[in-house]
Symmetry: D2
């Protein structure tokens, strides 16, 4: 149990290409896996949020991991998302993925119901005590019950099989708090960030790596950022981090997640197909505009040709322009118009339900 065994590097939370009929596009998925590995990602991470695990059936989720494990053939480690409807089903998935030879599983905290830290602890403790394979906690509080610092600490103390946390909160002091709470007793415990917009500073304050959706689109860039940061070339790293924020913001905020990432992967030469969540005709038009913007951003880094009508400064946004054009999209009636509203409505209702008002 030492620092050398820690999970580290950039794991790609991979997208799932679909056929015209909406089924898993196995050949394209295999081609995508090869492409990612060839471009330097340190590992793969099927059945994450980027992989839309909730929109597949139990059988499909298993099939996705089977394909990826088979195609990877040991070249890089695999972190397999294993969350199912309840503890019993989740443990069955752990067993199955262990049989496929993946390095570890990642398990998101319970979602839909928002659980207390005590319940989150009880849930992961039962898994941690019974899993046949290493477990990565997956903290993504915008979608699932949060895993707070004391809970991570307690879980790191109860269960040797719990070996890492992937944190998508993007909160830097929170990461510092987890590291100082856990590392003294568990030098083998790994801290991964899912928040691409702060990857460089998170690595600098002690993270071991990341599971970053951007690496499914620009694996060369995230790898370079990782290498430069660890190599102490901070001026060069900082500029890449700036560019990554612009690209990440554009993919994340100008379409429903993960459609912006799917659109960008199309531009890298893959046929991602239509996502499983239906889009209105307005949304489809928005996606086309977004695709042009993304093509210009990718062309900027040599990852795509410019679109035929060229890239004006307005098409290649600086970060603030990206935010502004996001506003502009909104103003033309796009689906983003109420994204904050609905987030907040969620809290509001939850709070009323819990009598906090």
């Amino acid at each position: 149990m030492n620092a050398n065994t820690r999970l580290s590097g950039i794991f790609t939370p991979n997208l799932v290409p679909l056929t015209a009929e909406g089924a898993i596009n196995e050949p394209e998925l295999r081609r995508y896996v090869d492409w990612l590995i060839e471009r330097g990602v340190h590992g793969l991470y099927p059945n994450g949020s980027t992989g839309e695990f909730t929109r597949f059936s139990v059988e499909e989720r298993r099939r996705i991991v089977e394909i990826i494990a088979d195609q990877t053939a040991g070249r890089v480690p695999i972190l397999a998302g294993a969350a199912e409807a309840n503890v019993r089903e989740t443990l069955k998935a752990c067993e199955y993925y262990a049989s496929l030879g993946v390095r570890a599983v990642a398990i998101v905290a319970p979602f839909y119901y928002k659980l207390s830290p005590a319940s989150v602890y009880a849930y992961f403790e039962e898994i941690g005590r019974n899993t046949p394979i290493d477990v990565t906690l997956y903290n993504i509080p915008m979608f699932a019950s949060p895993i707070d610092v004391p809970t991570v600490q307690r879980l790191s103390e109860c269960c040797e099989r719990i070996v890492a946390i992937k944190d998508s909160s993007g909160d830097l002091p929170h990461m510092i708090r987890m590291i100082t709470a856990v590392r003294p007793n568990r030098p083998d415990f790994s801290f991964l960030t899912g928040w691409d917009a702060a990857l460089m500073p998170l690595l600098l304050i002690g993270c071991d790596g990341g599971t970053n959706a951007s690496s499914g689109v620009v694996p060369e860039l995230t790898r370079k950022l990782y290498d430069l940061t660890l190599g102490g070339q901070l001026d060069a790293a900082r500029q890449i981090q700036y560019d990554l924020v612009t690209l990440f913001d554009t993919m994340l905020y100008q379409a429903e997640f993960p459609d912006g990432f799917r659109a960008a992967a199309n531009l890298r030469g893959f046929t991602m197909g239509t996502g499983r969540q239906p889009l209105s005709s307005e949304q489809q038009a928005d996606m086309s505009t977004l695709s042009d913007t993304l093509q210009c951003l990718l062309a900027n880094h040599g990852f795509a040709d410019q679109p035929v009508r060229g890239c004006s400064p307005a098409t290649i946004p600086r970060t603030a322009d990206a935010l502004r054009s996001m506003g502009a999209l909104r103003e033309s009636g796009s689906s983003q118009s109420d994204d904050v509203g609905r987030i907040v409505q969620g809290v509001v209702a939850e709070l009323r339900r819990r009598g906090m008002m």
Copy 2:
């Protein structure tokens, strides 16, 4: 298409009794169904949030509706929760439940991912245009993507098969906005509230009924509240509404949802079994304290005997006392201690993810 066909009355979002091994306890479920119908509920609503639909497998959800439809045998209408992993799977569930003769299905907005109004519309429109059975929209913004007023209006206009909305936000002006937006064009459209703490005033401003978890515990009381309110006996109704707030708050805020309701149903004579979400030993102790409190509250209405050690004023809380004792529970280390924290962490992370900060 007129007001007479509207879904109305109190539908019970029924709990699911489990065996010691965690399987569906079919005989107890059948006994529970009879008991509810005999005590005056107007309908049943399996696979709602109270019924923990996300914690069952696809097959179990179908089995639950089969049992309830069989046992009900047409005595009351059934509203069957039909949300599955994606539109295709949801439509298959609609077809199956239609074949069982249920009155309508209820479909919660997409969850985990928080979708924009445009996506929520696209999702329900595709369902509304293809469903073989009447659909009730289910708006529960604390758990799922909100369905906002313009979206409800548009859906009521696109799709005749969409005939109702169950709204669990508890927000009164929001209900008024929906009613004034939809009713002029769709007099047959029904508005149901899932927020027991405001049932009386919501009925008074125009709701047709409710799907209220409390009716699974005190069906006599919710029925009486409904009848008194519609009969214009407001002074009597108001007092029952006050009492219901105290009972509801206690069941809702002093345990993870729906464990407080399960504990209270036990006190009414059912063997609900252990829920599917594991509890820590501290949480189990809290449940025992909560059970005493609930027993006193139920005894107050003649629905249970007092516990052997009696009910001090401290055990029978006024509403504010209930809130205070909730605080007290918290202070003794219970699982509630961070309920708000985790809610808010969710928003926070979502917002950061969406670049709103």
Copy 3:
């Protein structure tokens, strides 16, 4: 100390007319006071949020109450907003307003810093023990530290001089919780709502009245709603409540608060002048559009002539249309575009500051 002495009825949180130079327009304020009293408001409430108390100097706040007290001349009771920079200054204001003969003061919970319930209690307890005049607690959690149910109960028990709460949360179960917590021991304690969109149902579940910004624009309508509700004419009251939601939403959400109310008061024949918060040129254009919408809504009730270019159905919104046109305004680049965003940014930052992430 009995129920008969309770503050009750509709108190108008009055706007302050300004001159072209931005000073208090005393003659117009006096004319406005007369107009309100003649149209049936039960009381006046200077230095509330509607009255923009934070944008005036200490001396101006005193002058506003002096003018209103003088002009009212005892015809209706006055509730004077008395919050100043700290307890000592607030108590000085209480003394001064007592000397002017107002019925009571209203004191908002501390703002800017968000205080815990313990601090909110300590603040009001010190005021409650030293005030020479009756105090109304003012709970407006969107702007100031919330006053929660146990805090209201404790304050009602410590301090006889604390005689009422004005609650602008609009949360109905919250009001029920306060009433059941306080009324048994303090039958003289009054509950007023500041949330016009739920006035009727709040009166029906036990409120004594309201301090409603709408009553500064359509005092005839709020008075009628109050009288019909108390008189048990619920069908007629319900329709007025529906209309009031549409009007209130339009005034509240289509401009910075309270500019929508100021625009509507202009349409009732007053010269409100320019508010103290600067507007961009875009915002000024939005205000002109809003004014047309408001004129049509007021004309609908006979409170204004139609604008010269008439009122199309698009100009006279149903409630949902109002919400939609709000969206439309947003889409044309108005100042509303980020209202939710900034609210949420506030929480986010607060939470990060408090380490909740």
Copy 4:
């Protein structure tokens, strides 16, 4: 207009010592100023949130700046908080502080009312076009209307006198977005962070300095962190940043802000006096416990002697322990118990008010 003129380094947002009667303790304030300058702070920042500007009168705020300007006597630059009730009063304060020779003023966005970006822009534009002195925007979204990225960019373009932003959101990608939006056109524009828990990484991604409350307590430590980070000694800097998170969290979350900082300044040898916000007797007891914890933390760095009863591991918290003991404090009835609750209630109410539910 070039990068060399940028505001940079650590500005101390200084606390205000009070006498037993609650007045400004001028001799102690002068002694505190000398002590801070001798320990290496790069500048002083009176009338910030740490300085409780809202709890002083207009006259007192001016007196505080007079004292500090006089005592500093040009040794370090002064950034004077200048926000008053409205634009006109704020501009008067700018003129007065300019006459005292301060380097710049800092102006918080409008608070109480939560304004849209358009209104925030209009407010600062009017100030920026009329101020006789350089202006630092102050973004503290937990307390005041947020200043979003496009607004900062527009203000940087409209107004040369606006030369910096102090951002207390602590959000790292947000800082990156601001820098990439503003720096190309305004190389002289400075970015300061008010979020001590992320000072090192914020400096590493491009910030010019900070206004950090911790520097009023441990000026030696924040200066050392600043120097090590800029000097590229990242391993040493990282450890100090970890320690600073623990200290900062303890001061920030275990008492009402800024009372934890006041308690720690007492331990450094100053008589801060009683704050202007009253505390309950329970809160006073909590402060005594907190003081012991802080003394141990300070002793750890040689900034204080250990308390007479010593420092057990329980008294010297690791970060997660600090969080846990925060929970413990909560459980013993402290004032922190509802800090999140009240934050969220704020949003909730705001949202309801804005019709977002």
